[in-house]
């Protein structure tokens, strides 16, 4: 039950992430750090959101991370802290739904069923599982977006909040 390498999906993840963020936040985006194969969590941040989905053979995870202090700037149109946090999670859900539903992804890994997301203040560690990811900047706020795939239930078995 080893890790799965996601080479070939970097561009699709970048396009999906920027498309979703630009529509939901109403602002242009730019890539601050190119989407590439990276070790887990190369980007230090205080707020993390993990959404896992699975089928019989694979479990996939989408992680979004950012500095929580940037939420007011990211969601300048929303004044309530709770709504901003909720909106941050909804961005992650939407990127996950769009990306994991793409034909290229489904033809490689199969159709995934949704699990519910986990949001933590701090890190979520999933040791020894490589991912693809990059950093997108919107409204001067940097957000890391990454995706990983593992065989079986390896993500749920090893993921933990720090």
């Amino acid at each position: 039950m080893g890790p799965v390498i996601l080479d070939g999906f970097q561009a699709e993840l970048e396009v999906t992430a920027r498309y979703v963020m630009e529509w939901m936040l109403g602002s242009p985006s730019r890539v601050k750090r190119s989407f590439a194969r990276v070790p887990w969590f190369p980007f230090d941040a205080s707020l993390a959101y993990l959404l896992t989905m699975r089928n019989e053979q694979f479990e996939v995870g989408l992680i979004m991370r950012m500095d929580e202090a940037g939420l007011p700037a990211l969601w300048s149109s929303k004044s309530e802290p709770g709504i901003r946090l909720d909106g941050f999670g909804e961005i992650a859900n939407t990127i996950a739904g769009n990306f994991f539903g793409k034909e290229h992804f489904i033809s490689t890994f199969g159709q995934m069923r949704g699990g519910l997301p986990t949001r933590v203040k701090g890190n979520i560690l999933i040791p020894e599982n490589p991912c693809i990811g990059g950093v997108v900047e919107v409204n001067s706020v940097e957000v890391f977006i990454g995706v990983t795939v593992a065989q079986g239930n390896a993500l749920s078995d090893t993921a933990r909040a720090q």
Binding site: M24, I83, E90, N93, G97, G101, G114, L116
Partner: protein, 130 residues
């Protein structure tokens, strides 16, 4: 008389956005807002709206479970799925009996998207009336 809608989405942010869109742009009366699958069933039974919108990934009961349960009890229910899950999920929900499907993100500043959204709503209601 205004058409009525129940909106169900586990995101408070999106539920609020959809409520505004349905009331201000589409002229509906939003008679209930829920944040999980169980509330979807309760609100439908309570209000019997002309339309119910459902997210797919929700706590307690998923959107797919709600579609099945709702249509078992209310075969004429008009269900519009609004979800970020694309591709196969669309076909699956329509096979379960949903009348329409709108993909997230909600691009409510995009006139073409809004036109398509309105058309999806009209088709759901037309199907109910036919």
């Amino acid at each position: 008389m205004k058409k009525t809608v129940v909106i169900v989405d586990d995101s408070e942010y999106l539920a609020e956005m959809l409520g505004e869109f349905f009331s201000k742009t589409l002229g509906f009366e939003v008679v209930g807002t829920g944040f999980n699958g169980a509330q979807a069933l309760t609100l439908y039974k309570q209000h019997r709206p002309d339309l119910i919108t459902l997210d797919l990934t929700m706590p307690i009961k998923t959107g797919r479970e709600v579609i099945t349960e709702l249509l078992t009890e209310f075969p004429q229910a008009s269900i519009l799925v609004i979800s970020s899950q694309i591709g196969h999920a669309v076909v699956e929900c329509l096979k379960l009996g949903a009348k329409g499907y709108v993909e997230k993100p909600l691009r409510l500043d995009d006139s073409e998207f809004v036109r398509d959204f309105k058309q999806a709503v009209e088709e759901c209601l037309a199907d109910k009336n036919s």
